[in-house]
């Protein structure tokens, strides 16, 4: 299993605020890796920087064997990376099908139909609602759409930022089941979550971020049973 993503000594600033202070981690092909941590620890900032939406001031990001620092966000998807952003950010005024079409923007037209069938297989509800405007979907359906949209680019690495945010517990379970399925089907996943218990239970490995630093790392099981993690992120 080769290394697909390697982040080394990443530093990101918002103006003068030093948000990410030397974060390093890696993701191997076929893994589910999760970044957990409190609100404001820098999880989303890290994700957005990898995706090219923010520019790091220092550090190196290697994806699939080459440096991607300074590559604009709109080129990442062509390299095989898809970010399903925090807050879903589906196109509310476009239909479900049009959202999925946008997800496949980087793909040749001939290959889109096949990906569409795959996405519909994972998310049958999107097929039922394909003509519906995305703004009229429920929160859970919008999350599915956001994930389906990211999958339409047929990514080597799928980055999911807070997929459980604002969803009812039953839906969270469903979303996590799908994440496991996607991983089994061959997609490498980098998952950011506040729901640390759920994230760690499906992850091969995890990293704990606190105030811009990686404070702890281990397998999903190790972190689930770690006393510090239990106290800080799993409610004791």
């Amino acid at each position: 299993m080769g290394e697909i993503l390697k982040v080394s000594d990443l530093h990101v600033y918002y103006g003068n605020i030093h948000a990410i202070k030397g974060v390093s981690f890696n993701v191997n092909e076929g893994e589910i890796v999760t970044l957990i941590g409190a609100n404001g620890a820098g999880k989303t900032t890290t994700m957005n920087t990898i995706a090219g939406l923010l520019k790091p001031r220092q550090g190196e990001i290697e994806f699939d064997g080459s440096s991607i620092v300074g590559v604009p966000a709109h080129k990442m998807v062509y390299k095989g990376m898809a970010l399903c952003p925090e807050g879903r950010r589906v196109f509310l005024q476009l239909s479900v099908k049009e959202n999925l079409d946008m997800g496949a923007y980087s793909r040749p037209a001939a290959e889109i139909e096949e990906s569409l069938e795959k996405v519909y297989a994972h998310f049958p509800r999107l097929k039922e609602r394909s003509k519906q405007v995305a703004g009229t979907l429920s929160g859970g359906e919008q999350q599915m759409l956001a994930m389906g949209r990211a999958l339409m680019s047929k990514p080597k690495l799928l980055m999911l930022d807070e997929p459980s945010m604002g969803l009812a517990p039953i839906l969270v379970e469903e979303i996590f089941e799908i994440i496991k399925e996607l991983n089994k089907a061959g997609t490498t996943i980098l998952l950011v979550e506040q729901n640390a218990r759920m994230a760690l239970s499906i992850a091969d490995r995890g990293y704990v971020i606190s105030t811009g630093n990686i404070s702890l790392t281990g397998t999903g099981q190790e972190l689930l049973t770690n006393d510090d993690v239990r106290k800080a992120y799993l409610g004791g």
Partner: protein, 292 residues
């Protein structure tokens, strides 16, 4: 009968406003800026058509195409030189720049073509007027309404059916998310300016064929009225530009015919204010509905 005559004239004038309003509304939707230089692109388009047709003796179609090409290139150039460096700056900075570009273009026109009034020839005179009973519809009006319908149908098809058009709608809704899809936002913005400016050239020829006074400030009044029409209909909305433009034209002509010629503009803007009080996003303005 006179009422119907006025109504048709109003729709004709309104169609021109609608075509111009599309430029404002599309640029606002995609780039989130008010391009106050849009009216001056119209003026440049008018001069280009005038010079190629009158001085160079080009055929009508060639003059129209020349005007469209020059305006399209001008729109892209203005965006590239003046607005693109300000991506991410405050909207006030961009607005002031747009006003600066507007004066810049007017003064360039003043240097090249002087302030002397040029009388614009009716370039669509190949279309005869049509009489039904007491009502006479001028050829210019027919062509204008027809052009407006054609442009609306074309643009609606473009934004709803083509990959590029859908990408434009995606950018207008969420620029960051659109980038994540692989959409090059800068290219999309350039394309929007290109379309809006090309339409401005068409609007210039239609407007000046009906109101033939060509001076360096010719674009200002139709520009500001079309901007009003865009706000009236709901800025950012393509059908809104159509409805806003037509209503504005009809109100203006009816006010001129039945109330007062001097007060017609005041009445137009008063109606705008009233609409905005009751519907701040304009007639078809999008209510932003968000689920978190």
């Amino acid at each position: 009968m006179a009422f119907i005559q006025n109504l048709i004239n109003g729709i004709g004038l309104g169609s021109v406003y609608a075509i111009i309003a599309l430029g404002y509304t599309m640029v606002y939707g995609i780039a989130k800026m008010l391009n106050f230089a849009h009216g001056d692109i119209i003026m440049i388009g008018g001069y280009v058509a005038f010079c190629t047709y009158t001085y160079l003796g080009w055929p009508v179609v060639a003059a129209i195409v020349a005007s469209i090409i020059i305006c399209t290139l001008l729109g892209i150039t203005v965006e590239f030189l003046a607005y693109k460096p300000l991506r991410g700056a405050t909207s006030l900075a961009v607005l002031i720049t747009a006003i600066g570009v507007s004066y810049f273009l007017q003064n360039i026109a003043l240097i090249i073509w002087t302030s002397n009034t040029k009388s614009f020839p009716n370039m669509v005179s190949f279309m005869p007027s049509v009489s039904i009973g007491d009502i006479t519809i001028s050829g210019t009006t027919i062509i204008t309404i027809f052009a407006c319908i054609l442009i609306m149908v074309g643009l609606t098809t473009f934004t709803s059916k083509t990959k590029l058009g859908k990408a434009m709608r995606a950018v207008s809704e969420d620029r960051g998310a659109a980038e994540l899809m692989g959409i090059n936002v800068n290219v999309t913005i350039s394309l929007t300016f290109a379309i809006g400016s090309g339409l401005a050239a068409i609007a210039a020829i239609l407007f000046l064929s009906a109101y033939p006074t060509l001076i360096p400030t010719t674009g200002s009044m139709p520009g500001i009225k079309a901007f009003t029409a865009a706000v009236f209909g709901g800025i950012g909305s393509i059908p809104g530009a159509l409805i806003g433009g037509i209503l504005l034209g009809v109100i203006e002509i009816l006010a001129k015919a039945y109330i007062s010629t001097q007060l017609s503009d005041a009445i137009v803007f008063a109606v705008l204010i009233i609409v905005l009080i009751f519907k701040p996003t304009g007639l078809l303005g999008k209510k932003i509905r968000e689920k978190v």
